[in-house]
Symmetry: C2
Subunit: 503 residues, 2 copies
């Protein structure tokens, strides 16, 4: 198998270069002094260019052609067959966009981001509108280059969720939206029944850091192959499975930010730390898709980190770290505080219940913009109307409305739905893990996360990017991507917390 | 000038890749978790390979040929002419070694390093001897590949000091050795006249860090384009002139280590932070040679940081940081403590006076090994004999003798003399700066380093690697490389400190 082994050697080079880009970016967001910005952007651009040349070279194309023949007799689920299949997919995708067009996108979105920042600061949508129009036009051209079988939006969605169909995602969102809207309304009527103010007391940062580290270490995040640093916009990153780092930010008067954020990022990082050793250097040693990745972060942040069982175990430890702040707080109060639902205008501050409504709104508007059903000029009003309909709150400025996210500035249309899909998948996986081990809640309540960790490792993490996302979900759960576990989880949990009448 | 501009575009790529290697290395030595080691070595090897391919490609060779014609009519001191000249020098050098030989060197020295570590730990020279022999043989073959006009050692020396002659270095060392040997003997007779024990008191690390930062900031090291981190083996590194970082290590009971180390590294870093803007991305935006670089670190560490004037200004600040530790200490005691001379067995712990004897010893042994005048088997005894002759102390184990440095294991023959040359150059430059501004000592005593900073910037730093080292020294001082300023400095300073009779 000489083409295959040559192919693997090239993939290893590409992998190293991708890892190097991640290192440059991690440093940029953690320790780089301000003066380094310009040089860093040049270093990153050189590495990107070399990576792109290697990933789209005709030499690589020939190696893939040859390797396909060599693996044609293998089982489709064998490692080599899966590597070649995925590399073929990546190669065809990355060679579809002309180099000039890629350069145009980079240039336009970089300018658009700059303008967006100003427009948001000045609350002036008219400034950003022409750039949003340019980005919508670029998205349309991107769609044409990539092509699609069914709906144009598929081409954008598939950048983040390979082989998923917009039409199927719509069905899922249509199942979730009415339930969540009703849930939000019912909770609104019980507003005031939860007092979350305990989380706004003053919690010193070193205590937050110590506790957050203890939590994710207990989960199974391996600090011998990772670390936790401070940054402005938290993220997880991987330089190979043996160096997966997480970052967070601290607010003394908002204790959940660092804690929940660290748990969230640890989910991403544990995924990457536990891909199969056989995938190292193949370009498949990473998460399967955005939604699968997000399912892991959400699972550890929400299904574990906001659960009653989690706090049963960690409350005494949290108390030991902050005895003064928690002197008059009991477990039930703390648990409810971490699960308070408050419809708000800003997505990134949203709670577990309202979060998906923010996503559904964006998913709908993106499709309408792409199809031409919605003009850029009408986008602010359409945004505000949906906020009112879904969440019962209405932005008074565009800065807290249509201008709030960077995604449409950076050319990230198609990305938003993956956040909600991640929530759905997290519940579907967790339900399956519970099926396999009914004692999971008891284990969590006693600080034992090993069987949950092992289940996820065996059924998701170890496969890396061997499968497309819907294949991976079916492999792990025996089912297609479904919303019923999510709807059941959300309804049960918040009906109990807010003592709601049946939804 | 189309070849020249294409050449510059390629040089920019090479520069970015070199900077990326430095970033990977910095991270490895500061924040990388233990698990990252194997992946990091693969990432670095991929970047090195790409850099080497680009730096030795026949395409680059043709661009240099073309550019040489284009700049042939320019003044030799014009920037473009100097760029082409230096790039030609680099290219010819890096294409002289066959790729297979380079791979053999990398493999052998990497194994040799490993064996050396064991041999030193176990104090077993016989274990390392065959690997030292291999490295000597590789050095001989390296010499043959590079070629030389006069002495074989020139080819090794020129890797660190382009165009310098071994014969000339011998002359300089022969001037210095007897003076220093006499100085050491005289000081030995006054041993006990200085009590340096104050530096061994307990100084908390955060105080050391705060004071060290204050010092180098006052020097002119720009933290907006740099930072100070902890590491095991301190170094300075540059990712471009706008991101030059320094590292240090702390010992609570050895306050000079972090402080002097930080000043030392700040000298390296200020050099890199202040190369001319016109050199950015040309592969010339760095230090001129090892000795020039070392001259800057030594100048700030020794000529400034161990001077009476420095402590006149900084003593009250040092005292403010450590009032308890310094309660019974006056300025004169502290100044002398920082300048205590104690012949010791270990180079890296040596003081200003004895340091060069450690270097001269190694320089002499290296030449004898290369010429065959000394066999590997006889090296330990030869080492010990010279230690006795020059320093009056004799190693009782090979671990503190011939096995103490990593250089001969890592294939770094030719490197050692640059340390001493750096000391000579530091004094030659400082003398010249003093000539230009007689008030320098008064300025330093009042915490004003701006005219020294400016003089170095104008006469050394801004030129980067435009000139070969001897050219740069002449340009800055109007003289060839000389030892008389160094001999004068050392003799005067320590005659006063130790109240010695005339040497």
């Amino acid at each position: 198998m000489s083409h295959l082994s040559d192919l693997k050697a090239t993939l290893a080079q590409i992998t190293h270069l991708q890892e190097v880009s991640q290192i440059l970016s991690w440093d940029q967001q953690t320790y780089m002094p301000p003066g380094g910005a310009e040089g860093r952007s040049e270093q990153m651009s050189t590495i990107s260019r070399i990576t792109h040349e290697l990933s789209t070279s005709s030499d690589l194309g020939r190696l893939i052609d040859g390797a396909e023949k060599e693996v044609s007799a293998l089982e489709p689920t064998s490692l080599d067959a899966q590597i070649v299949r995925m590399v073929r997919y990546d190669f065809d995708l990355s060679t579809k966009l002309p180099t000039n067009f890629v350069a145009e996108v980079v240039k336009t979105t970089s300018m658009a981001e700059h303008v967006w920042m100003e427009a948001r600061r000045e609350n002036d949508f008219s400034k950003f509108a022409p750039w949003l129009q340019k980005n919508v036009d670029l998205a349309k051209r991107t769609v044409e280059y990539y092509g699609y079988d069914d709906l144009p939006y598929d081409a954008l969605l598939n950048l983040y969720e390979p082989k998923m169909k917009t039409r199927d995602v719509r069905v899922l969102f249509d199942q979730v939206r009415p339930v969540v809207v009703r849930l939000v309304k019912a909770i609104q009527e019980r507003q005031g029944s939860i007092d979350g103010s305990v989380l706004l007391r003053s919690f010193d940062e070193s205590g937050q850091e110590a506790f957050s580290k203890e939590v994710v270490k207990t989960f199974g995040y391996d600090f011998n192959r990772g670390r936790l640093d401070r940054t402005t916009h938290p993220f997880a990153t991987s330089f190979g499975k043996n160096d997966c780092r997480i970052t967070t930010r601290y607010d003394k008067n908002l204790v959940q930010m660092a804690l929940m954020g660290t748990m969230h990022e640890s989910g991403h990082a544990m995924y990457e730390q536990n891909v199969g050793d056989d995938l190292v250097g193949t370009t498949l040693a990473g998460g399967c898709s955005n939604s699968l990745h997000e399912s892991q972060s959400r699972l550890w942040e929400n299904l574990v980190g906001r659960s009653k069982e989690f706090w049963q175990y960690f409350f005494p430890k949290f108390y030991a770290q902050f005895p003064e702040q928690l002197a008059d707080v009991d477990l039930a109060t703390l648990y409810r505080a971490f699960n308070q639902v408050t419809p708000s205008l800003i997505r990134v501050e949203a709670d577990e219940v309202t979060y998906n409504l923010h996503i559904i709104l964006r998913f709908e508007l993106e499709q309408d913009l792409l199809d031409g059903k919605l003009t850029v000029a009408d986008a602010p009003d359409a945004w505000n109307q949906k906020m009112t309909d879904y969440l019962g709150v209405t932005p008074t400025t565009d800065a807290e409305g249509v201008l709030q996210d960077i995604h449409w500035a950076m050319g990230g249309m198609g990305y938003f739905p993956t956040y909600s899909l991640g929530n759905f998948v997290s519940c579907q996986l967790f339900e399956k893990a519970l099926e396999a081990n009914k004692d999971l809640p008891i284990e969590i309540a006693s600080g034992n996360f090993s069987s949950l960790f092992s289940w996820l490792k065996e059924n998701v993490w170890t496969d890396g990017r061997r499968n497309f996302p819907l294949e991976q979900i079916r492999k792990a759960t025996g089912r297609p991507l479904e919303t019923s576990p999510y709807i059941k989880y959300l309804t049960n949990k918040f009906t109990e917390i807010y003592s709601l009448p049946p939804i």
